[in-house]
Subunit: 227 residues, 2 copies
Amino acid sequence: MDKLTAIIVAGGVGKRMGRSVPKQFLLLGDRPILMHTIEKFAMAYDHIDLDIIVVMHPDYHDYWKDLIHHYNFNIPHTLADGGKERFFSVRNGLKRASQHGLIAVHDGVRPLISTDFLQKIYEEAIEYGNAVPYIRPKNSVRIEENGHNHAIDRNTVRLIQTPQLFPAAELKQAYKQEYKSHFTDDATVYESLGQSIHLIEGEEQNIKITTETDLYLAEIILSKAGQ
Amino acid sequence: MDKLTAIIVAGGVGKRMGRSVPKQFLLLGDRPILMHTIEKFAMAYDHIDLDIIVVMHPDYHDYWKDLIHHYNFNIPHTLADGGKERFFSVRNGLKRASQHGLIAVHDGVRPLISTDFLQKIYEEAIEYGNAVPYIRPKNSVRIEENGHNHAIDRNTVRLIQTPQLFPAAELKQAYKQEYKSHFTDDATVYESLGQSIHLIEGEEQNIKITTETDLYLAEIILSKAGQ
């Protein structure tokens, strides 16, 4: 049976939104954002051997367990400790992950990914070795460096999302490297070992909820999806 | 007195959103999107000599005049004919524009720009010769060309918005060039004559309404701004 480990990164400690509760715990519809996210993985991959690892700052583990109890949330998952940078959070999650099959790393605050897309990206990762989703910019794009700027062809620009899927053993190996500041996602860590990245077009609705406006937008997308 | 001509491009002919009415005419709050946009310019620049030119497909001129009557919209502006590409719409608008002072080119479907920002970018354009707003990507960014892709430093990436402000005479000169496919905004046209572009950080809320979800989001931003 195929093996997949989902590492769901919910490392936020709740500063940006001016609330005391980190955004992954905020309510979207009738339950916390993070529960939606976990549920999407459980639904999309109910036919394969799936492990779910949720990475979260240790200060919030008890709070999360209370939420699980309160919402009667029953999808099995393992908790790992969040780190200072996303890189260290993923590394902590990877320590709990199987060497076998694929690993999907996903942002806990991207609950709107569709189960159809999760199935599709898994199949692409099986076929091409890895799979990383992107959306296209709607704007013109420029590059600004050293006080100068120039236009680049926006048709070549890919705005990268998650989940990002890689062979488990290779991703674990890649994360043994020392942290570098350009490791802004898993693809950059993985490719630094000489691998090439397989890009696939993602979903516009798969937004990362980082502001209050994003949360309102997520409510709208969710209510439209439910119609 | 300072002179500014605002060219507001509302060339949409209403295909993308699956409705018969082009998006610039859709209701945002109590009146069409385009009226909000025009009003922002009138409010921000009430202390300078402002001309407003609205560029619109000729098929919609009568419809727009009916809307003006219906909503009792009384901000003076000139209508120009929209063209096949944005480039030709702007060129048509420029034919009606003064040679003097500055020209601001703005998307008709970006009604959420703040008057504060409009004043700020005008001052920057006076000081630096031109001014083009951008926002930063929230995602990692890659470039995909010829079947290969590579990461680029997202801190250098600028997602370009409007309004874009330039000296009137120079922008009119720049738009006498032949159209090229990389002319995706006014900055690319302007800089092709050897000018450099002055970038300034724009506003996240200044979204371009191109989908129904964008319109919902705009309603939210508008209602929050009114609180």
